[in-house]
């Protein structure tokens, strides 16, 4: 039987980096929602686009 072993490999680091990025994005959205005076739908769409594009760019850079 194959035993599961924690390796902490490159994939894990990428997963953790994604978690950190999403956490920062989540808190950043909370901040933007409190500071920027626009309707919530525009904020979700605009902020989502920025976070999404930036996420893809960063993912390609670190791959």
């Amino acid at each position: 039987m194959k035993r599961w072993v924690w390796t902490g490999d490159s994939f894990t680091w990428h997963f953790i980096a994604a978690c950190v990025y999403l956490t920062a994005a989540w808190l950043g959205f909370d901040l933007a929602w409190r500071l920027i005076d626009v309707d919530i739908l525009s904020l979700v769409v605009g902020y989502g686009l920025v976070v999404g594009v930036l996420g893809v760019v960063l993912a390609r850079l670190v791959r």
Binding site: G8, C19, T23, L27, L31, R34, L35
Partner: protein, 230 residues
């Protein structure tokens, strides 16, 4: 490998705690973003009301609330604002004018004398005294407050008698006056502090011409509210 596991787990736990704090504190700001917000967003009205009810405001809010910045008092025979806030109303009567400044939770709560003079007396008036009066007499500066409490500083000047009223609600009832009878006051000098909310009113002789209107913001000791006294 165990160090790596520990490090990776720690990062994930921090992320989870940050998200958890944000969700638990909603709609109030999470401690992670609060320092980046202005006072009104950092401590919204509902949050301040909860502080007051629980009587356990956090240290950061207390430090903010108790701030006492220096002010540059303009020279001349003008009148300066007695408190930071918004002018609620200017009520003119035959015998005197009431200049009413409303303070919000986020304003500096140090009260300054609008005019140089000598303190004649400091009166304390509670809810019972107000109830004995007619509404028309009281509502000029009470702005619909329930259970108002006030301290009135009588200031004698070369241009007549001025009264400075520090008003709060009975349940808050926290007024500190440092001025005392006989004390000579320089214009803009600190005379007291309202420890919670409310209003500061200047009663002036009727012939004082105010430069500002209701709705404008004023800064205690700095904003000129009336030109040279007649």
């Amino acid at each position: 490998m165990s160090k790596k596991l520990l490090g990776q787990s720690l990062i994930l736990v921090i992320c989870l705690v940050l998200i958890g704090l944000q969700v638990a504190r909603f709609p109030f700001p999470s401690p992670a973003i609060a320092p980046l917000l202005g006072p009104r967003d950092r401590w919204p009205t509902e949050m301040v009301m909860a502080f007051i009810e629980s009587e356990t405001p956090p240290k950061s809010f207390l430090e903010f609330f108790n701030r006492d910045p220096e002010r540059t008092v303009p020279p001349g025979g003008n009148l300066v604002a007695p408190a930071d806030g918004v002018i609620k109303r200017i009520v003119r009567r035959p015998e005197q004018t009431h200049f009413v400044v409303g303070l919000s939770f986020w304003d500096v709560h140090v009260v300054r004398t609008p005019v140089a003079g000598r303190v004649l007396k400091v009166e304390e008036e509670g809810v019972a005294i107000f109830r004995e009066r007619s509404e028309t007499d009281a509502d000029a500066y009470l702005d619909g407050k329930l259970g108002p409490v006030q301290k009135v500083i009588w200031i004698e000047t070369d241009d007549g008698l001025f009264k400075l009223r520090l008003i709060t609600s009975w349940w808050a009832s926290r007024l500190k006056v440092s001025a005392y009878p006989g004390k000579a006051l320089a214009k803009g000098e600190r005379v007291g502090r309202i420890l919670l909310g409310s209003s500061v009113v200047v009663d002036t002789p009727p012939d004082v011409e105010f430069r500002l209107q209701a709705g404008e913001r004023v800064i205690a000791g700095e904003t000129i509210i009336a030109g040279d006294l007649p």
